[in-house]
């Protein structure tokens, strides 16, 4: 649990043995020539550049388009492990949806005293426009990313829920494509569950959430902020793979009570919008009046039940880190079951006793902003200087309710391929979950993010993290 406990490596046991999940892979790897593998690594990078899988990093002008480093060693999960994980994920996602619905309706969970009202009342992601309204199909979080970390053979924990617009799924798909084209023989000898049908499942899942007025074959569009957005590649990729239109705000307008896109044949209605813009940019009439990314009036159409927006506006109320700390209670409240996947222990700095503990133990803890993401604005105690800790202490004292703290976890490691051979690096896992009235659909695997720097615990791509192909074995 703490940084003092030994790190769990997913490939090797403490005495150098190979864990069962990796037996087949290691046997294959030992038969490969090291130089050939190095050559393959360069090949992978050229492949990514050519196909244009890059992301833009805010504030870095020279490196306008950067590659997320890709590591060739797969992250492998056994079928047994996965079945257990997916039960926990499904339970959690079910609870998240029920929770959001409740928050915008009767607020039973507040009445029961399990969650304090201030949590969402003060939450910037809370949208009064959603009160009393139920989205088409009753779904709030059409696409969810549940970030998992592992600390031992059976110890998986949820680090974060992403209920707004989880990104990274294109890397999951392209990583698999790359691995299959580089090492086809691996996939004939090992049974790895496929992920390539994700875009089809996504299209189907979104179509199943279409409003009543939709065409028999609902028109789905992906709404992107545009070509300069850091995740533009993914937006284009998903639209392409789903056979959906990739639209910008300027392509859309409200006509005859429907949201329509400007086509070469005139304005045509859209039934489902998979939006990759934040709530506040969605509708300049309802939210940020200066937004050029959104569609004036779309919220009125939405509230009239004539368009589906995925994920639902206001769904973000469920995924900030203060809410996160209540997830065990939330899961139990809505499912009547004990949570199958535990949370990482979390101190809410808004609470007096917790704050005192956190202030006493800053050098041991990870402190995060309640609304932050992307690894920005956080303190990692053990790797920070005294001065950094002192500066953070002031921020924390000024606005304690803005922070939560967690122990510095000994995240599990999986080896990466380096010029000197295999070397362990810390990883996490983001499985992708689709929700529709037809059910909850979890793609086997997800995106493994890996800290490429030795000893680093920060896996975010904006902070130099890389990715791995993630395998779920069909055993």
């Amino acid at each position: 649990m703490s940084r003092h406990s030994p790190t769990f490596d997913e490939m090797f046991t403490a005495d150098g043995g190979i864990r069962p999940a990796y037996a087949g892979y290691c046997e294959w790897l030992q038969a490969q020539d090291q130089h050939w593998m190095t050559h393959k690594g360069a090949e992978a990078e050229a492949f990514f550049r050519r196909t244009g899988i890059t992301f833009n990093v805010y504030g870095e002008q020279d490196a306008e388009e950067r590659l997320i480093p890709f590591d060739m060693v797969p992250r492998i999960i056994t079928g047994t492990e996965w079945r257990r994980l997916s039960r926990g994920i499904e339970q959690r996602v079910r609870a998240l949806n029920a929770f959001i619905h409740d928050l915008y309706h009767r607020q039973e969970i507040v009445r029961s005293g399990r969650v304090p009202e201030r949590l969402f009342r003060d939450n910037v992601a809370w949208l009064p426009q959603m009160v009393g309204f139920t989205p088409p199909g009753g779904v709030y979080t059409h696409i969810v990313g549940i970030d998992l970390v592992r600390t031992g053979p059976d110890e998986f924990m949820v680090l974060e829920d992403n209920a707004r617009t989880p990104s990274g799924v294109s890397y999951m798909l392209e990583n698999r494509e790359t691995m299959m084209s580089m090492f086809p023989e691996l996939f004939t000898s090992m049974r790895v569950r496929p992920v390539s049908d994700y875009p089809r499942r996504l299209a189907k899942s979104l179509a199943a959430c279409a409003p009543d007025c939709a065409a028999s074959r609902p028109v789905v569009a992906v709404l992107t902020p545009g070509v300069y957005n850091s995740a533009y590649f993914e937006h284009a990729f998903l639209a392409d793979q789903m056979g959906a239109e990739l639209v910008e705000g300027s392509d859309l307008r409200v006509e005859d009570g429907r949201v329509c896109m400007r086509t070469t044949r005139g304005y045509q209605p859209v039934d489902v919008i998979y939006r990759r813009v934040d709530d506040e940019f969605l509708d300049p009439l309802s939210f940020n009046p200066t937004s050029l990314l959104g569609v004036p009036g779309i919220m009125d159409v939405y509230r009239a039940g004539r368009i589906t927006i995925a994920n639902a506006p206001g769904a973000g109320v469920a995924d900030d880190k203060a809410i996160y700390s209540f997830m065990p209670e939330i899961v139990e409240f809505y499912t009547g079951e004990k949570p199958l996947l535990p949370n990482v222990p979390t101190w809410r700095c808004a609470e007096k006793d917790s704050l005192a503990y956190v202030l006493d133990n800053l050098e041991e803890l990870v402190v995060k902003e309640v609304h932050g993401s992307g690894g920005y604005g956080m303190l990692i105690g053990p790797t920070s200087s005294r001065r950094e800790i002192a500066a953070f202490r002031q921020k924390l004292l000024a606005r304690p309710e803005n922070y939560i703290a967690q122990p510095t976890l000994a995240l599990s490691t999986v080896p990466i391929f380096t010029r000197k051979g295999l070397a362990p690096r810390h990883v996490d896992l983001r499985p992708f979950v689709l929700v529709s009235p037809q059910g909850i659909d979890i793609t086997p695997g997800g995106l493994t993010r890996v800290a490429m720097k030795k000893g680093s615990l920060v896996v975010n791509s904006s902070q130099g993290g890389g990715t791995k192909d993630s395998w779920v074995l069909d055993d």
Partner: protein, 322 residues
Amino acid sequence: MEERGVAGMLGRTANCIFWMCRYLERAENTARLLDAGFRMSLTRASEMASEEWRSVIVTLGLVEHYDARHDSYSGAQVCNYVLRDRDNPHSVLSMFEIARTNARVARSSLTMEVWESVNEGWMALRDMLSRPVKESNLGSILAAIRREATLFRGATYGTMLRNEIYQFARAGTFIERADNTARILDVKYHLLLPSLSYVGSSLDSSQWDQVLRSLAGERAFSWLNSGQMDSRGIAEFLILDPRFPRSLLFSYGQLGQHLSELAQEYGAESPAHGLMTNTRQWLAERNIQKIFDTGLHEFLIDFIDRNQSVANAIAEDYRFSA
């Protein structure tokens, strides 16, 4: 399986594809023009050659922009300005960059091969043009630009579904090509000769020869005319020969075909279609005598205007912008 309904493509996407093709066509023609300037400069003493280099800038319509940044027309300056200057929005590198951005925006409407040809072409040129161009490597750079343009054309021709996306792409290509051929011809007519008395001189004919070369028409023309060069014949060939793929008439034949296919797909002819038909008709009714009688320059300016109107009408009819 049920086919996708008649949902049109996004106007913005059509616009991106149209302009991606225009920029790639223009980049290729720019390289060809520079090639012609380069060849002409080799046949002249260096102090005279600056006039040929200047003619390249004039043809590209960049004199003002260029003069604001440079005070002379040396080969090295012109080549670097035309090929790789990022301040010049119409340098080959800038245009490949714009084309690639358009391709990124419209990516879900392109095949993998087309996207890769644009992206890889941009990467190759970016690397090749990362250092100043010297006379010694100019030839290989120009060849590389033509090759990248050819790869793009081949990928488009060989992999794109023949639907509206393809029609917009090709319409952009031929609008641009017709414009570029007209501009190249126009410059020859009124700029290159020191004075009227040079008309018909050996300088004159070698310049006409370079115009042909810059439009990749020297072999076809010599073959058709058993090696005889004359300015009228060359102008006729570049304007009116329906077999030559860079002539105005050929470009309009193709443009007509693609707009017709669009009309068929959409079930109606657009106003742009009417404008195009007029211009094609007007072209077909010309002969070279008539053109020279009214003045080649006047004819070309008239054509460039008409061509621009067709392009504007396409953008309006198919809702390229809001």
